[in-house]
Amino acid sequence: MSGYFTGVPAPAGAGLALAPFYLGFLGIIPDGRAAAPVILVYIALVAVAMVSRIPTFPARPSASG
């Protein structure tokens, strides 16, 4: 799997996990309580993507892991 990261890297995973916060600050997610179950599932999916072997675009060329 050369040229790809294996799984979502930790910094990108952190950014993805915080995406609901960004959308909340922008007012796209108005009510946190109503969106909580959806955000819960989203965070779980991000966690699975981080420990999976999904090939993702690397930040630097010819990098893996």
């Binding site: 799984g7 950014g15 915080l18 995406a19 960004y22 922008l26 420990v51 999904i54 993702t56």
Partner: protein, 144 residues
């Protein structure tokens, strides 16, 4: 990076930094959504060359090769003539941590077929082959 690309890359980095400072939450949300949108393209671009070059050897296929060539040729990965049922059986046995040769080899039993089951010491329990079975397998499950 070639010399011609240094300035454009630097300009892009500066532009992104300025946009991050000016429109912090918009930019962060945009970057997160862009990253999510790019994941399927990453999987597709990885799957395309793998399909052309044939599947890589999985852990239990490597172990089988090292087991003195007990397995018959049709079970070699990448052979498109292998039946789907054969692979399903192979995966099911690998998931149970067991591996059975194609049929009885040497010696029979009263029942007719004596299936010899060999436990692979080095093979992980969740050994698997192919893109679909390895993509969503946690890294720790494949570590030897």
């Amino acid at each position: 990076v070639s010399r011609e690309l240094v300035l454009p890359i630097l300009a892009a980095v500066v532009l992104v930094a300025v946009l991050l400072i000016a429109y912090t939450w918009q930019m962060l949300a945009l970057m997160a959504l862009t990253y999510i949108a790019l994941i399927p393209f990453g999987i597709r671009s990885y799957a395309a060359p793998e399909a052309r070059m044939g599947r890589p050897l999985g852990p239990h296929a490597q172990a089988r090769r090292g087991a003195g060539g007990l397995a018959a040729a049709p079970s070699l990965p990448g052979n498109r003539s292998v039946s789907l049922l054969h692979h399903v059986k192979e995966h099911a046995l690998a998931l149970r941590g067991l591996w059975a040769p194609e049929a009885s080899r040497g010696g029979g039993s009263a029942g007719g077929r004596c299936r010899k089951r060999v436990r692979l010491a080095g093979a992980p329990v969740a050994a698997s082959e192919g893109l679909h079975s390895t993509l969503f397998q946690p890294r720790w499950a494949l570590r030897s």
